[in-house]
């Protein structure tokens, strides 16, 4: 990932080392994926070259020597002329902020991935980003970088010369860590690291917490153990345990050694539970349905599909994204009219556990809420399996005898 401000006005040479001019502008296609197609090179006058001729961007820009000039196509716009410094308005036409910088992706292909609307975007033009950010971090004032992803902008309006958002201003103003994480997952680890570096520790940790486990593992492997430990200390222990569990043993021990005794003990305990996971209690004999299914349909399905089940106490309800959203028990299914869809009576206030939940906690939850079974879900709320009362009887017996 690079910022437009980092390459604007850079010198351009051919691979035969002859000087072409400076980079004046880039041209992109107004599409769902806004590819950068051409560049404007200025010397005495401005010439447009296809971006495909660009070979390297280290220090100076190098293009192949047989480059042919081209011209602007119909659905193309300039970054500098049409995007940079322009006013951004929200749905209600309120002025929100201006485009302070433009974020480009150069791997695997060049495209425009988003817009920097933060204070950092302003500082970058003065070469002050790093120094001021480090000062602001010292007094823990560093604001969250505000990034607008391309999908937040209405392309039709852009073609008409206006940068209009799809979001309400309020939602945008406070880009929540969850949303920022979603956005960052579209980029790569290196750019995630770059953005996290500009944030204060607490917000950075919140964003890391919301990333998916692959990114978390990659980031922790890049981070020094000390830095990883400071992230661990800022997020919830079970989230931390999930991440630590994916690392190799040496790295894990190193990270743990940087933690306070209290945190370390808690995490070690959690990790031990993960070693003897409730996995051994989990069964994949569960039955799911959709919220719109009627009781009649569900009953038919149960007859068809669960003949080989040992038990069936609950019907778990999943949404379109296969996320667990509700549960109903057999008694409720029998009581209601057979044309009633499940969403009318299902319980949405679910008690669920995940893979790292310690045995004791899982069991005490079952006992506390008087449940015959507990669903086990992952961080995306996908149903992995369930624990039934049967599967834990062995454990209970052991403790009581």
């Amino acid at each position: 990932m690079i910022y437009f401000s980092e390459i604007l006005h850079k010198s351009i040479y051919t691979d035969q080392n002859s000087y072409l001019g400076r980079l004046k502008d880039l041209i992109f296609v107004v599409k769902d994926r806004p590819y950068i197609t051409k560049m404007v090179v200025g010397r005495e006058k401005e010439v447009v070259y296809p971006l495909s001729s660009l070979k390297s961007i280290n220090g100076k820009l190098i293009v192949s020597s047989d480059v042919q000039s081209t011209h602007l196509d119909e659905n193309e716009l300039y970054i500098s002329k049409n995007l940079l410094d322009q006013q951004i308005i929200d749905l209600a036409e309120n002025k929100v902020v201006r485009v302070n910088d433009v974020i480009l992706q150069n791997k695997p292909e060049w495209y425009l991935s988003g817009i920097d609307i933060s204070f950092y975007g302003i500082l970058r033009w003065f070469g002050l980003e790093k120094s001021i950010v480090s000062i602001m971090k010292l007094i823990s004032l560093a604001p969250v970088p505000e990034v607008l992803s391309w999908v937040d902008i209405q392309p039709l309006e852009l073609a008409r010369g206006r940068i209009k958002l799809k979001l309400e201003q309020e939602r945008l103003k406070k880009l929540r860590p969850e949303d920022l994480a979603d956005y960052l997952e579209l980029t790569n680890t290196e750019s995630i690291k770059k953005i996290l570096n500009t944030m204060d520790q607490q917000s950075a940790a919140m964003v890391i917490k919301n990333l998916n486990i692959n990114y978390q593992t990659e980031l922790f492997n890049i981070f020094s153990s000390e830095k990883a430990a400071s992230v661990v200390s800022l997020i919830e222990p079970d989230d931390a345990a999930d991440i630590l569990f994916t690392l190799d043993k040496q790295k894990r021990l190193e990270i743990l050694s940087f933690l306070s005794i209290e945190d370390r003990l808690e995490l070690e305990q959690l990790l031990n539970f993960a070693h003897t996971p409730i996995g051994e209690h989990i069964t994949t004999e569960f039955f799911t349905a959709f919220p719109n299914d009627t009781i009649k349909e569900v009953m038919r399905e149960i007859k068809n599909k669960t003949s080989n089940f040992e038990h069936l106490n609950y019907v778990y309800v999943l949404n379109q994204n296969k996320q667990l959203v509700g549960v109903c028990n057999m008694h409720e299914l029998l009581l209601n009219d057979e044309d009633t869809p499940l969403y009318k009576f299902m319980i949405t206030n679910l008690v669920a556990i995940n893979l790292t939940t310690p045995e004791e906690i899982a069991i005490s939850k079952m006992l506390k809420y008087k449940l015959y079974g507990l669903p086990v879900i992952d961080r995306e709320k996908h149903l992995l399996g369930m624990i039934t009362l049967d599967s834990i009887t062995g454990f209970l017996l052991e403790h009581f005898s």
Binding site: V96, N100, W125
Partner: protein, 413 residues
């Protein structure tokens, strides 16, 4: 006849619908610093300084008209256009100078308000604080329409200077003759200085920013451009109409009796023995009004410019939570300037001097942008500066710039 009556009434109605921005901006150019400059000039050079007014009015009209035209055609403020056309670096640079220069002007106005509080035996600190609180209240609570009415009342209060001048029993013949033929003029270095000071206090960077933002905030349509232009000329005339009486009031008293005036703020006290208690009080009230207008309008101009440069919502019509930054900048400047004025050990003269020098540096830059933008065919369309107009405007701008550079350079020798 009847038709004529209706047509006049209809046009008057349309005119009143666009009336406000240009007049308010132009009149605010006669802020407390302006009044002080006119008083000093009148006391020192008498009726002869009136000759300058004629030119100042034309220059003010030309520069403000370009601002109004650009604003109505593009629907953008000067801050918007500078950022969009010249990029972030230049925009931030211009904004920072504008912020500091405006701070200086606000300090100057608060200093004048402090002086008037002494004159009317008002307790200074509560007096200044209540001005800040009331201004903030009306700007945040009131919408555009309410605030424009308040500003227009402020404009009316400038009539105090007319009564003040009448009381001074001036030689009207000499006054009017000098306006057109400078027969009492003794050309000197000091006279040139005073003329430039009069020019510099009337044509200001913040004035150029303010008029564009304020025209946009009123949402004047392109159809009404003609009327808005007429208002601009009227505003420029009205401003110097009042300036005329300020100069006459001091010329008829202090100049005739050869009383030297140390600072402009003390003019109201100084004319009492000659024009009477009542005239002095009116003059003082005029200064008070000018100071309050200056403080509010200049703070607003920075707030507008800030919002435009950085793209935040900035309008007198925006609710507080959406315009937080706009209103925040407005309040911040007033509080800071007031605190500086209250500090006993700070030399206000130096602060005002140096920040006014910044204004001098900034003005040519702003006028350069103004002319450039007014000449952009693809932006202004059929409203681009015409050749003749360009000749006049570039000539005026060069005149203003060389005058300001002259003062700036000679100030250091």
């Amino acid at each position: 006849m009847r038709f004529f009556y209706y047509s006049v009434r209809r046009n008057l109605f349309l005119f009143l619908a666009v009336f406000g921005p240009a007049t308010i901006t132009a009149i605010s150019d006669n802020d407390a610093a302006g009044v002080a400059t006119y008083s000093l000039a009148g006391a020192k050079f008498g009726y002869s300084i009136l000759f300058v007014l004629f030119f100042v009015t034309i220059l003010l009209a030309i520069t403000q008209e370009m601002g109004v035209r650009i604003a109505v055609v593009t629907k953008k403020g000067l801050g918007d256009l500078i950022r969009e056309r010249y990029g972030l670096r230049i925009a931030v640079f211009v904004f920072l100078i504008l912020l500091i220069a405006n701070m200086g002007s606000i300090v100057a106005n608060f200093a004048a308000l402090k002086a008037t509080s002494h004159m009317f035996n008002l307790p200074t600190i509560p007096f200044l604080i209540s001005i800040v609180v009331l201004s903030f209240f009306f700007i945040t609570k009131g919408n555009y329409a309410v605030n424009q009415k308040i500003f227009l009342i402020g404009v009316l209060l400038y009539f105090a200077y007319i009564f003040s001048a009448l009381r001074a029993k001036p030689d009207w013949g000499a006054a009017f003759t000098n306006l057109i033929i400078p027969k009492d003029l003794h050309f000197s270095r000091d006279y040139v200085f005073a003329s430039i000071a009069v020019l510099g206090t009337t044509i200001t960077p913040w004035g150029q920013f303010f008029i564009q933002s304020y025209v946009n905030d009123k949402k004047i349509s392109l159809k009404s451009l003609k009327l808005a232009q007429i208002e601009t000329y009227f505003g420029a005339f009205l401003t110097d109409f009042f300036s005329f009486f300020m100069i006459v009031a001091t010329a008829a008293t202090l100049f005739i009796h050869k009383i030297p005036l140390v600072s402009g703020e003390t003019a109201a006290m100084a004319i009492r023995p000659f024009a009477g208690e009542f005239a002095g009080t009116l003059f003082g009230l005029g200064l008070l009004n000018a100071g309050i207008m200056g403080v509010i309008i200049i703070s607003l101009s920075t707030a507008y410019a800030f919002s435009e440069f950085f793209g935040y919502e900035g309008s007198l019509d925006s609710p507080f939570d959406r315009g937080k930054l706009f209103y925040g900048i407005f309040l911040f400047q007033m509080i800071l300037a007031m605190s500086i004025v209250m500090l006993p050990s700070v030399s206000l003269f130096q602060i005002v001097f140096y920040t006014q020098s910044l204004n001098t540096i900034l003005l040519p830059i702003i006028l350069f942008f103004l002319i450039r933008i007014a000449n952009l065919k693809h932006v202004m369309g059929e409203y681009t500066n015409s050749k003749i107009y360009n000749f006049f405007s570039i000539f005026s701008v060069i005149l203003i710039i060389s005058a300001t550079i002259f003062t700036f350079v000679s100030a250091f020798f």
